[in-house]
Symmetry: C2
Subunit: 293 residues, 2 copies
């Protein structure tokens, strides 16, 4: 029986790559893609599929226990490609609490030996229209957090989010802007995320990826689908279901010198409703077909 | 009785500026904001409110009659701040038809003596992931259309749309990219639109507005509201209902040398459902309070 792709329901166009397939060497599952899985299930799922790394989220990690998660991941021979997430550094009233929470996130990333701590910087504070001020506060917060991360061997990865999220999620809107912020700090302390979903539209993206060079701390792939779902936070698609041409992005980060994990992070109600094992299998197929192709 | 703002339902914070109020000198109503009005009703509404210009759309103009609309607008002492719209130049299979339609649009803009013909360039062709190719075709089409417009005294205004619309509406995503395209042509033939809704998030927007200078063919204002409505084409808000700080944008286009109309174009189901006269009155109040403030 031919496997079925999730969530399109279309028959699989290629066989599911088996564990040990060298094409999977860089692929990582961000656990948010298999939201129904616990940390233990996601780690087991990745190990069984032959992946070498997994992207984790702080809340499920806390549920499983931080030290227990670190041990489990190591026991299964996996690495943590990223920890999600720190950030939310734009509200002056909540700044002390945000800094404290980000220090904890850094400590968790250190314990997990995560390749990076992803930062979603936050939107405009409630009632504020001061976009420049919000952006300035992110830089000010990084001045505190970057050395704190550096001392613990943790690398912050600034994630530019699609401009659609500028008001309510992240005032960091382009890769170029993320690099402008990152360059005030040592490469080992602050890098950037290149996420196809967020940057694919940017006419300047090729120049910025080349500029990023060893600032690239994480490369994430998922697709841009239309029409956008009513909840735009869940608008990400499985690779191949949307409009993004992935191979040029992989070629560009490779040319910039990035040799790290390629993480698949998809927030999508239909994917979340499906069997995570089938989601993972679809991800393997679509990765070799649409990203490596 | 205090007037009520549309669509917020909040009491008006300032009196409605009366016809003849010098603060209204540059304000224009794009007729799409008062969608229920016919061309005749919209022209009468603008004239009664003391506006000096109106933005028109091709379909309602055709319904009223092109020559009749030109006469009506002139009779009421109005100018046409913009004609919407040409464009949709990205599909190779439809290119001949698109060019022909754009030539007609240029002729209509000439007849209406419109300040500019707004161009929404189109998204990715169905099934295509070739974003660079789609963008290239826009430039190729402009090589045909720009001189055609120039010969008729019409100025094309390239509109960068929010990156949220890149796949399905306009592969032209930033003001900088619009200027890169426009600069291949004479200033009199190809300018750009600065629309706060589309560009407010852009960290590079101030530099690009300054760069634009006399390429600015149209300045449009409306707000970015959250959460985004399910239909993101109808996500525009009345000024003051969202997250955009307008006065810096007006100051920037003024500093760039723009002295033209300030047009309000809002696609919003709640605004469309309301009495257009109340929409227009709200627009007058919000303009003096949120844009000129």
């Amino acid at each position: 029986m031919t496997a079925t792709d999730i969530p399109s329901g279309r028959p699989a166009a290629v066989p599911t790559p088996a564990a040990g397939d060298p094409r999977l060497a860089r692929l990582s599952l961000n656990q948010a893609t298999a939201k129904r899985w616990s940390v233990a299930e996601a780690v087991d799922g990745c190990a069984a599929a032959g992946l070498h790394s997994i992207g984790l989220w702080r809340e499920p990690v806390a549920e499983h226990g931080l030290e227990a998660t670190a041990s489990l991941v190591a026991d299964r021979g996996l690495r943590v490609s990223s920890l999600c997430r720190g950030g939310f550094l734009t509200d002056p009233d909540g700044m002390a609490a945000a800094l404290e929470d980000n220090r904890r996130a850094i400590e968790e990333a250190a314990t997990l030996r995560a390749e990076c701590l992803v930062m979603v910087v936050g939107g405009l504070p409630a009632g504020s229209r001061d976009l420049a001020g919000a952006r300035r506060r992110v830089v000010e917060a990084l001045e505190t957090l970057a050395p704190y991360a550096g001392e613990r061997g943790v690398r912050i990865a600034l994630e530019a989010l699609h401009p659609m999220y500028c008001a309510d999620r992240a005032v960091l809107s382009t890769l170029g802007q993320a690099l402008d912020m990152a360059e005030a700090f040592p490469v080992s302390q602050v890098g950037v995320v290149v996420d196809t979903y967020h940057v694919w539209w940017d006419p300047d993206v090729w120049r910025q990826i080349a500029r990023a060079g060893d600032r690239i701390a994480s490369f994430q792939v998922c697709d841009w689908i239309t029409p956008l779902p009513a909840d735009t936070l869940l608008a990400r698609g499985m690779m191949g279901d949307g409009h993004i041409d992935f191979p040029p992005f992989l070629a560009a980060v490779d040319a910039a010198g990035y040799t790290g994990d390629i993480e698949v992070e998809i927030f999508n109600a239909d994917i979340w409703a499906a069997d995570p094992r089938q989601v993972l299998d679809t991800m393997l197929r679509r990765y070799v077909r649409c990203v490596l192709a």
